[in-house]
């Protein structure tokens, strides 16, 4: 089957299955909807840089920050288990998990009716708000198990990866960007690490923010190789800009941010100004373990 024929078949399926979608070949489409590239990390870690590297690739479309859509809607669907009509195609109460995944995929197909590219990428960053609404689930490892069930049921063929940036830099940047206390930002970073460290996590590749800054070409090559994408020049060029350094500031050429470049986008000199009185060593250990999982060394 030629690629064109495969897309035509996919379009017919999409027409039958998600009929509201305008039916040329949608992207994501019925053929690749289960197989996104998913960047799982805490915001302010370089996820926009990563997304823009992939956005520059002609084979990839990026759909943005999808965590509320994915997890919020999955949870909404879980809440109707046993109180709605069974789905004759999937089953009733006993197959409800699959039904939730199917419905979230349908929502993505309806929401992103782009066309053309064979791969798609999303960044469901941060611990989703829906995890805070789980009834009767108190331990974070159980919440993390729910996270992976929702993600893997919806996108069973997803290539999941993360990006590592020094947690203190992430906390400082998060605190400034979202206007939250450093402790809250720290908790978010630690919780994201708990999710990534969970036994159900299948994240096997971590982008290094430090190397994307210091030796971008080599790191971009490593990313593209892992994702089985051709080394397109646009991806390398994408690292010449800075994405969302602050609110309302987007895609600024690095040449205009000499100060940031000189300090390799690190805020090390500001670390001492951060209130760390409520940061616990066992939380630092969680972060060290996360970095070690990917062969990286983290020191505080």
């Amino acid at each position: 089957m030629t690629l064109h024929t495969a897309w035509s078949v996919a379009a017919e399926w999409a027409k039958a299955w998600a009929p509201e979608v305008s039916c040329e070949v949608e992207m994501p489409n019925i053929a690749n909807i289960t197989a996104p590239i998913s960047m799982i990390a805490h915001g302010r870690s370089g996820t926009s840089l990563f997304m823009n590297i992939l956005r520059a690739h002609p084979d990839v479309v990026t759909v943005g920050e999808t965590a509320p859509m994915l997890f919020g809607s999955f949870q909404a669907m879980e809440r109707v288990r046993g109180t709605i009509r069974p789905d004759p195609e999937v089953g009733g109460r006993e197959k409800h998990n699959e039904r939730c995944g199917k419905a979230v995929r349908a929502m993505f197909l309806a929401s992103f009716p782009d066309k053309g590219e064979p791969r798609w990428m999303q960044k469901p960053i941060n611990a989703p708000y829906a995890m805070g609404l789980l009834k009767g689930v108190r331990q974070y490892r159980h919440k993390a198990a729910w996270y992976w069930n929702a993600l893997n049921t919806t996108f069973p063929d997803s290539t999941n990866l993360t990006i590592l940036r020094h947690p203190y830099d992430v906390v400082l940047s998060s605190s400034e960007y979202w206007g939250v206390p450093t402790k809250r930002a720290w908790d978010g970073v630690v919780n994201m690490a708990r999710i990534l460290n969970h036994p159900a996590s299948d994240v096997r590749f971590a982008v290094s923010h430090a190397r994307l800054v210091s030796e971008p070409d080599a790191e971009v090559s490593r990313i593209l190789s892992y994702l089985d994408l051709t080394p397109h020049p646009g991806c390398f060029k994408a690292t010449e800009r800075v994405y969302v350094p602050k609110r309302q500031a987007t895609r600024i050429p690095k040449t205009k941010m000499q100060d940031h470049v000189a300090r390799a986008f690190s805020r090390k000199t500001d670390w001492s100004r951060m209130d760390m009185s409520k940061f616990r060593n066992r939380e630092r250990d969680i972060l060290v373990a996360l970095w070690a999982r990917f062969g990286e060394t983290l020191t505080f």
Binding site: V21, P68, G72, A76, R85, A103
Partner: protein, 276 residues
């Protein structure tokens, strides 16, 4: 079932649970031209909220004209979920019952307790956005009976039950509420035929015998009890499914005169007197 032709025009039953919503749902679902989808409130409001939260941080929907409000996209998401959840079997109409105050509004209310009116307006924005061509109906049952039944069914604290009943009434009281028919539970219990006829006429459905037969059963009288013939529940039938004899056992310490007035006004809006 929902399909691309009828997805925007369901019959939507909005009420507080334990008000007779299963009875009304089953009366309609018994009609050969109507499929019943069940309790869809979390599906609608959770999907809407999940999509609302990604406004501005996800890729544009290129099938929508530039400048389209994000709410249009939220509505489209909700419909996509319904089309996926309930595969089409060719039935002409569909009914669902998004009962109770949505969990998304409860969250908002916890954060902003004095802004319930704004949350209530949002409720109708969501229902109207997702299903702009639908018909919305409700069913009225005496709040004391609802409170007693709800307390036993969900085993929630009574103050929470009162709050939910009153909040649902505030939603139904909104000027923007497109509710076009209020059924009366006590009439459905005592003399169902004319009330069912009124319902079917309102929705443009023929008087199919199965709809009337559906009223001969009792639905979910308690958790897990399913459908039981009325003839087996003579005690309930004799008292017209009212708990009046137990009203004095209700803890009303958190149910204020202001709350009573909200409920009286809501019933009056639909032409029904309510006495406490």
């Amino acid at each position: 079932m929902p399909n691309t032709d009828n997805i925007t025009r369901p019959f939507t039953l909005v009420s507080f649970g334990r008000s007779g919503t299963s009875l009304v749902h089953n009366i309609l679902a018994a009609h050969p031209d109507v499929e019943g989808c069940g309790e869809t409130q979390p599906l609608i409001f959770g999907t809407w909220e999940g999509t609302r939260r990604v406004g501005g941080v996800v890729r544009m929907d290129q099938s929508l004209p530039a400048g389209t409000a994000h709410e249009t996209r939220c509505a489209k998401s909700v419909r996509a979920v319904f089309l996926s959840m309930f595969p089409d079997d060719g039935t002409k109409h569909w009914v669902h019952k998004p009962i109770n105050v949505p969990f998304t509004i409860n969250q908002q209310q916890r954060r902003f307790p004095k802004r319930f009116d704004a949350h209530a307006k949002d409720y109708w924005k969501v229902i109207g956005g997702a299903f702009p061509d639908g018909k919305v109906i409700t069913v009225l049952r005496h709040p004391y009976d609802v409170a007693l039944s709800a307390t036993r069914y969900w085993e929630n604290p009574i103050d929470r039950i009162w709050r939910s009943i009153v909040n649902m009434a505030q939603i139904l009281s909104q000027d923007s509420a497109p509710v076009s028919l209020a059924l009366r539970h006590h009439v459905l219990a005592t003399d169902p035929t004319p009330e069912i006829s009124r319902l079917l006429d309102h929705l443009g459905l023929d008087h199919h015998p199965a709809c009337f037969e559906a009223a001969e059963k009792v639905y979910v009288s308690k958790p897990g009890s399913g459908r039981r013939p009325k003839s087996e529940m003579t005690d309930h039938t004799r008292r017209a499914f009212s708990h009046r004899a137990e009203w004095d056992q209700l803890d009303m310490s958190s149910f204020t005169d202001q709350d009573r007035q909200i409920l009286i006004n809501m019933w009056a809006k639909y032409g029904e007197p309510l006495n406490f």
